[in-house]
């Protein structure tokens, strides 16, 4: 199964923005249009993250989410201001596939367990943003509050054990930089993890993908790489072809021609 490749669409006040190191948001375009384009290009999935919802206390713009999701015929994970079960419920009703929890990981970790029990682990993504401590060493960052004591790998494992079905690991320093994915961080965080790990921050080209997967990532997320083009960073929504993605991971694009053996049949062949 080919690892997933997921565009990240950051939203602020109903506009798509791009940040660098989570700062200096730059206007990119209209979210509906952006999603339409990714849909046309058959992107595997989308992460739509509202970067203002928690900070401004504005909460979730459900009408906006509905408009955006109605243009996507692939899975959309939504994050930004998700703090209660009823909000999650409403998001799922609108067509959101997964919710991304970030601030609530610090303020209400029990919410992860509640959501996982109610909707299944696969519907809950825990976002782990990693920056650096003042004197070296990677650290989990809580936005508006600074670095946290718990090392990134222990933090991710804690969120997994609480019930998160997926971890979105973002390198805040590399975000927007196109300096390459933090493969060391991936190796560190994924080693003790059982659930899928999505790495985000710094992807520059298809060449970055395979090493990250080899280090333990299950999926690659990228914003800048799919949004900007060229030295002058002109806005251009792009997404590689399926064949190019298979090739990037060193996999054959050929689908199995014959069905694999399954159990429950007279053959009794061992399977999954």
């Amino acid at each position: 199964m080919r690892p997933r490749v997921i565009p990240v669409v950051l939203v602020s006040d109903r506009y798509v923005v791009k940040t660098t190191g989570f700062k200096k948001p730059v206007y990119v375009g209209d979210p509906i249009n952006t999603v339409k384009l990714f849909n046309e290009k058959q992107a595997d999935e989308l992460f739509v993250l509202d970067i203002d919802a928690t900070r401004t206390g504005r909460g979730i713009d459900f009408e906006f989410v509905e408009d955006v999701v109605s243009e996507a015929f692939m899975p959309v994970a939504y994050g930004g201001g998700v703090a209660t079960l009823s909000q999650a419920s409403r998001l799922f009703e609108l067509g959101v596939e997964k919710v991304v929890i970030q601030d609530a990981c610090f303020t209400r970790p029990g919410l992860i367990t509640e959501m996982s029990r109610a909707y299944g682990a696969q519907a809950v993504v825990a976002a782990v943003d990693v920056g650096r401590r003042k004197f070296g060493g990677p650290a989990v960052i809580r936005h508006g509050h600074g670095p946290v004591e718990t090392p990134p790998e222990a933090w991710a494992k804690k969120l997994q054990d609480l019930g998160a079905g997926e971890i979105l690991l973002t390198s805040t320093l590399r975000e927007g930089s196109r300096k390459g994915l933090d493969v060391d961080l991936v190796a560190r965080v994924s080693s003790d993890l059982k659930v899928p790990l999505v790495v985000n921050g710094g992807a520059d080209s298809l060449d970055d993908f395979a090493p990250a997967v080899k280090a333990g990532a299950s999926a690659i997320a990228a914003g800048t790489m799919f949004t900007f083009h060229g030295p002058r960073r002109a806005v251009l929504i792009q997404y590689p072809s399926d064949a190019a993605l298979y090739s990037a991971f060193g996999m054959s694009h050929d689908a199995p021609r014959t069905a694999r053996s399954i159990d429950g049949s007279t053959e009794r062949t061992p399977s999954v």
Binding site: E93, A118, Y119, G165, A259, S261, I262, V272
Partner: protein, 206 residues
Amino acid sequence: MSAAVSVIDYGLGNLGSVLNMFRRIDVHAETVQDPEKIAASSRLLLPGVGSFDAGVAGLAKSGIGEALVAAVRSGAPVLGICLGMQLLTSASEEGELAGLGLLDANCVRLQPADPALRIPHMGWNWVTPLRPHALMDELPTPSKFYFAHSYRVVPQRADDCLATTDFGGGFTSMMVHDNVFGAQFHPEKSHVFGMSLLKSFSEWSP
């Protein structure tokens, strides 16, 4: 003249995406909660996102499950998606409660032999048909669909398995028996492939 597809609203499952896709392919679909309407429906879809027992409880509430069984027994085709498909079976390792028993199958946890394959099985994967079927007539070959699950169905009869998918070994990704059809993946999240399958389902005469 094909009637509307009744998309069952039992509190679980993202109705929004299912309705969106039906709208995009010009198939009339509407959500239904009322058991009488469900029992009288001529074509039904049971979506599902969440845990097995939560799903069973949702169906038991207000008699929705019973109404679905009645509709199916009177010949209406039904498509169960992801958890929806699992709820059509007899039971699941994930929960304690009984499924609807409309499909002779039970659900077990995915346990791929390869430790590098993580659970939930999440992402796009190939779906390989075992035999021709009207439901797959329009499907491009090969077909990929989006999966997001930790449990899989095990049909009692090999004949009921319509298509398999490989995840550290093969598992049943589509099954059918008479007028009851189930898909483990999410057609409503699988753009062109999903649209093709839902279109076929809307025209299917079992």
